[in-house]
Symmetry: C2
Subunit: 532 residues, 2 copies
């Protein structure tokens, strides 16, 4: 099944906003319905593909000569135009396809990816590696230089190897996460990687963007899971990973993870897998304040026991009940006071029970009140639904977007205040006071992430409107000592702030790597690093 | 206190071999005393320093003008000649100082390090970052190109910051580990990093070489502990680490960790610290075979509970009792059968007891027999003494050296056999059949390290003799799927095998990084990467 071209997910799963939410938007934020639904796909004015005949022949030859693997029809190209940020959606909903790719190419394996990249280099084409197409940071929107080829990896979808002794698996990069989980489940294993994009995103995308899933407290980030990578570049192949860890030089895996298609195309990953856990228990807890809740999470992250899922909504998010989208605006949600935490455990029966009991003692002592399993299970059921809600909000005339950062624990209060203030003041000054919500969803011994959700009226020019607020938030993140992204990545949208965060010398060092692996600048120019 | 120039450690702590060991060497390996003690320091024929007057003035100016911080006396230079591999010791014991540095420079902080590097670039000097001087892989033996400056970091020895909320500390790179631990203990914290070089090595060296300590099962490797790095290069400063983890591009920390002084000089590290554990319990366990013991370690590493220290000697190492150097060759050691494991727990009283009891159940089920705390505590007392033993073995006419690798669990049996065979057959063919011992001392969910100790007679040309065996072991490691080093690093000694392991394109990418950060090739040429 293909993702909805103009929004998120399964087109059949879209649902309109519940009436109480519409009321809330109107009363709180002044949002009025504007009939701003997307244009019809057939009505989009798609320019003819600029792919030249020679380049097309070269691409065809790279993928074995079958025409269905070099697509230039309008629908295929529209479906590979940009990603799924709110800005991307605002543009595609309006039928704006000025940076539509010239062709969609579907190689069948590593060698065909190599051949496609060589063909791109030879014919002056730009290549955009395309997995699930779920980037929310402009990771699929390179600077334009010649015709753009969307390099769709969906045919790289095999489980290549399972090593049950070492508990590793090698999987091709184009596998969507649910498909990968199903293949691994056949061997009794799970990856344990469940980001909000889970239903659509691919393993290669997880690796290229340093994805972090909702069970990161227990299973780690995707970059913790990767033990080996195969990278196809215009200059050849890089293979990494002979051991879990090594002292043989810099960790090349960690140089390729997060390279966002700018250094090469990740064609397979060898990952750590774990037995499918027989037991699971997710619970809700309530804390009087965000700070008290954050302190409780920190205690668990630092001294244990470590839950599998650990997240905490701030007062606003708890009040609105964003953790329970189906209850937003309902009487039940309005009664929410304080801050809701979800604390989940997975493992053996015995281990889960033991960790749960010890964690409960810590949470009690830290001021938490147990709410039982219902809020935890409820959160788990709705964990992939928020992006659908965004489509409904856009339909209703609201602007909705998320952004995230991370910092050391001692910095979090200042970072939280700085980003909230930046978003609130920018949007309020522009005449559309927002609702700004936040949660902590990834914890470490030494710090945590902050994930913000912003909803406001769209204003007259929603794209420019949001861009101003986003830039203010980016500036605030850097000023307050946060990183520009904890798990969405850099893309084109964060590139300039990433350069400030990393500093000019480090950026130059990464550009030197790119020039060596991609001397013609074929791969995602302007994504991650400035285009040469 | 300075380290013994001709060997390891505190000169006052040197002890001769116990008589039973001398007997064992003679009877088993044909080692006969050769009176091969080191020459006297004063007798070494030290060439005049080739440092030119202008270069000296530039270096002096870089370190504030004080002559004591630019040393060209013979003893200072001898003490900064190469590292502490057995090959290094064989050469220095013989008075061979052909690659002695021209000067030893002692900058006082990051800015002075920058100034020294700029002076080196301007005057065609080579700079060798020098921490504890404990490299055993030729990390202090660059290719020669102009006069060599040993850049001794001992004056960078401050604790710069402690953040008790985030549990982080920022320490200068020249701090020796015991000094760093003492400073942290003043705040109730420990780093938990205890490699065999602990008493002499520095934090910057740990970072530059991806060190892993004996408590890595509980505290992680040094590269797990590093949250931020400051790097001085001839082109300026790189600073990394705004959050424990980030999706903002490749992990630059992991590009600098393991860079072995070839990309720059690490001047400070921000590290994760933990509360000093109130409880500790180290135990011995015996397994019938190395494979059964390894399976038991794997079960703990994969399913928990995770000990703080976890190591297992193979049958030969257990028989010889290398884990108990003071008992080598004694009647007690000769009775050792099977394979000795040391399993240690640190933490709170409750947590330590709980993990210990659960681990004991796993070890029992896996075929282990408990030996009580005595063997564990005995191991802990002697944990830093093996390098002293090597000096005594060299004095006695034996050759003794160690090497190590790591791989995924399923590969370990083949890797173990391959390296043993390579060492045994090479040395046997050369007329000096060796004793080859091995232990697992670092475990991961997906694999483990193998650490080999080799003892044989020295043969007529010990250096050439050992070099042949070492090269055979390196080839065997790569052929069997291991990494060329798990925690000693690449240096000059492993460089060619590292290039095979990483592959030409990855090596070129790292060379591109080096050229950007060190365009004049000042830093450790030929260490890690081929000299340009």
């Amino acid at each position: 099944m293909d993702m909805l071209w103009s929004g998120w997910g399964d087109p059949a799963a879209a649902t309109p906003l519940p009436d109480p939410v519409t009321g809330l938007l109107r009363d709180l934020l002044g949002v009025t319905p504007r009939g701003t639904g997307p244009v019809a796909l057939e009505e989009i004015d798609v320019p003819a593909s600029p792919l030249g005949a020679e380049a097309r022949r070269a691409l065809l030859s790279a993928v074995g000569g079958q025409a269905e693997h070099v697509r230039t029809d309008a629908e295929s190209r529209i479906r590979h135009t940009r990603g799924k940020s709110t800005s991307d959606l605002l543009r595609i909903r309006g039928g704006e396809v000025d940076d539509i790719p010239a062709a969609v190419v579907l190689p069948a394996g590593h060698d065909e990816v190599l051949a496609v990249l060589r063909a791109c280099a030879a014919h002056g084409l730009t290549a955009v590696p395309f997995g699930g197409g779920t980037s929310v940071v402009g990771g699929l929107a390179p600077a334009r230089r010649g015709a753009v080829v969307a390099l769709d990896l969906r045919r790289l979808n095999a489980l290549l190897a399972v090593d049950p002794v070492s508990r590793t698996a090698t999987l091709q990069a184009g596998l969507r996460a649910p498909h990968a989980e199903a293949l691994l489940a056949g061997h009794g294993f799970t990856l344990g990687h469940f980001p909000q994009s889970y239903e659509w995103a691919t393993l290669g995308g997880f690796a290229a963007t340093r994805s972090s899933g909702q069970a990161s407290a227990g299973y780690g980030r995707f970059d913790d899971m990767v033990l080996g990578l195969t990278l196809a570049t215009p200059e050849g192949t890089v293979e990494t990973g002979r051991a879990p860890r090594s002292a043989a030089g810099p960790d090349l895996r960690q140089l390729l993870l997060g390279s966002e298609g700018a250094f090469g195309v990740i064609t397979s990953v060898t990952v750590r897998v774990r037995p499918v856990p027989p037991a699971r228990r997710y619970e809700g807890w309530r804390f009087p304040s965000f700070q008290e809740g954050a302190d409780a999470l920190r205690r668990l992250a630092q001294d244990g026991p470590r839950p599998t899922v650990l997240r905490l909504s701030d007062e606003t998010e708890t009040l609105v009940g964003l953790a329970r989208p189906d209850a937003i605006g309902s009487a039940a949600a309005r009664e929410n006071a304080g801050c809701l935490a979800v604390v989940g455990f997975e493992g053996t029966e015995e281990d889960t029970a033991h960790r749960r009991d010890r964690a409960a003692a810590v949470l009690h002592e830290a001021g938490g009140a147990p709410l039982g399993e219902e809020p935890g299970e409820h959160w788990a059921r709705g964990r992939y639904s928020a992006p659908y809600l965004r489509d409904a909000l856009l339909d209703a005339g609201a602007l909705a977007e998320t952004l995230e950062t991370a910092a050391f624990w001692s910095r979090l209060p200042e970072l939280y205040a700085a980003v909230r203030n930046a978003l609130t003041s920018t949007l309020t000054d522009a005449g559309t006071p927002p609702l700004v919500m936040c949660h902590i969803s990834h914890v470490y011994e030494n710090g945590a992430s902050l994930y913000f959700t912003v909803v406001s009226a769209q204003g007259d020019d929603p794209l420019a409107h949001w861009t101003r607020a986003k830039h203010a938030a980016n500036d605030a993140i850097l000023a307050a000592g946060g990183t520009i992204s904890h798990h969405h990545g850099v893309g084109a949208d964060h590139r300039d702030w990433y350069a400030r965060e990393a500093g000019p010398l480090a950026v130059d060092a990464l550009r030197a790597v790119k020039r060596r692996l991609d001397p013609a600048g074929v791969l995602n120019p302007g994504v991650l690093l400035p285009a040469d």
